[in-house]
Symmetry: C2
Subunit: 340 residues, 2 copies
């Protein structure tokens, strides 16, 4: 199934660029109320300034969540600007979650730069994360339905993070191993919830709150698809594009879907993989071997299949409640076409 | 001026105990949605379980903020239970802020126990703080006015924390020194905002949203008074009561009001104090000497006077918009009577 129109990739890229131009001034305005030190750190985390507060033109992230919020409003017939408070809120929550994640995981690099805590210290970074979360809530506090979905996403987000953290103490295989179902629950919280909130706040701010619940479900479905795809990139992605080290997730012993699926597949490669990851070696050879065994045991293909299935499910939902050729469909379709 | 009725201390203590009995089941219910590991950490932070999740009957804090929320509802003629969502929310935000504060300050002890990060690790504690904040927002997300005040408090809270953190890099005296006015701005954010939100959500949930703004102002005024009083306890408080080490704030070089006031007082003691704190010695003798010089330069008295003045201001506001003998007045009056 080809999810998108022939010119969808180009149309999707243009729609994202258009949303980004609307977003940036609103995001800057939201952050401007902070104390200068907090504003500088937020500017670094949101990608428009370097560590000294000077303009930075590098990779500030895709801004996918705010685009989904604005294009969801557009899909229900409203101007994309009507969803700006929601777009700003979800981008701030996304940035908050990355900043706190990097502190928890002690990750030192993100988007080809230092992480916020490496650049400014863990205490200030923790607080800057809190500040971005507070500003996000403040952006929607006066709204009814949009605030309800943002809040739901926050609770699910921390639940997903907690599950992810709890996975670290679980065995790789045997009794107590992490199942694909548990992984999907974690991904729905960690990644799905905020994409759900983006779509739900978008349609609600666009004047169609009655579609918010279905938009929420659709966004969560996309989120699971994207998280699984991100897991694939976390093992086999090109560092020049991802901005993260090759085989990074394997080296850190993260229980991502390709490995979970590979370990549960049975067979020689799965059993060998269990021995390799169980030994927790982080040298280059062991990590390369693990990546090969995950692939051999079918983990990569299983992840691709599951990601594509969840993405198609989301596109089907969208077709039902937001029929027609919308920029939202182009953007999501183009993203899905990458999963192969 | 004696702020309270003759039997106010007893009546205030009873009112706090009554609110606490209402609060605990609601707080437990809010936390019960968390993943077991998050719930265990929240139970530790909120004071009802020990590090292994077993019941803990020790000092779980005064629960002053939720009491103010519930008694504010009562003061406008509603049952105190009507303010429970606000009471739960402000207590959760308070707990969140202490958990993140202790991580930032690397504090190891609170309320005669380990701090959360010491007990469970910094990463899990950071996330448990985020979870409590998410639950707090979720508790009020469906409300209009109460949510608006909670959100305002969150933004002011992180601003206050940011100022407090920025004070650490400022000189003790001379150009760039922290002024009493800057301190008051920090305290209004760090402590005042959440007491403001407690009172504002209380009257709003109690059916008098038109009083919310005045309740917010009153609560903030109290908050500044309490923060200054807390600063006094942070230097001269009895560790058996405060649960913190004696002279703790002096040893850590915190720029609290007694020191700021002492340094700006002029005279021999102030000049000597500037030399002592400038040397940043943390040995027992230096710290004892600093405490003596703060007192000699009039810092302790200035702090008491300022705290009492702000508290009287708050009581005056309360008398204007919530006249009569209310339990709220008893509680606040009794707290103020301690400031002497």
């Amino acid at each position: 199934m080809n999810a998108s129109r022939p010119d969808a990739v180009q149309a999707g890229a243009e729609a994202i660029a258009r949303c980004r131009r609307l977003l940036e001034p609103a995001l800057r305005e939201a952050v401007s109320v902070l104390h200068p030190s907090g504003a500088r750190m937020a500017g670094f985390a949101l990608g428009w300034s370097d560590v000294d507060g000077r303009p930075f033109a590098g990779d500030g992230g895709k801004h996918l969540r705010p685009a989904i919020a604005m294009l969801s409003a557009e899909a229900v017939g409203a101007p994309p600007e009507s969803a700006l408070p929601g777009a700003v809120a979800v981008e701030l929550v996304h940035a908050f979650s990355l900043v706190h994640d990097d502190i928890m995981d002690l990750d030192e690099r993100r988007r080809h730069r230092q992480t916020l805590w490496r650049a400014y210290g863990a205490g200030p970074a923790l607080l800057a994360g809190d500040a971005m979360l507070a500003l996000a809530v403040d952006r929607l506090a006066g709204t009814g339905v949009p605030m309800a979905y943002l809040s739901r996403a926050l609770v699910e987000l921390v639940q997903g993070q907690t599950l992810d953290l709890a996975f670290e103490n679980r065995p790789w295989s045997g009794p107590g191993e992490v199942t694909v179902q548990e992984y999907e629950e974690m991904a729905a919280g960690k990644t799905g919830s905020l994409l759900g909130a983006a779509a739900a706040t978008g349609v609600a701010l666009g004047g169609a709150p009655e579609l918010a619940e279905r938009a929420w479900e659709m966004g969560r479905e996309f989120g699971v698809a994207f998280q699984i795809y991100d897991d694939i990139l976390g093992i086999w992605g090109d560092p020049a594009i991802t901005g993260k080290p090759v085989h990074g997730d394997l080296r850190r012993g993260k229980k991502t879907l390709p490995i979970i699926a590979a370990l549960s597949a049975g067979g020689t490669a799965a059993r060998e993989l269990a021995v390799v990851v169980g030994a927790a070696a982080t040298d280059e050879e062991a990590v390369r071997q693990a990546a090969r065994l995950v692939e051999e045991a079918g983990g990569r293909q299983a992840a691709l299949d599951l990601s594509a299935r969840r993405a198609r499910g989301a596109m089907k939902m969208m077709a039902e409640f937001l029929p027609g050729d919308t920029a939202l469909r182009d953007v999501c379709g183009a993203l899905i076409d990458r999963i192969r």
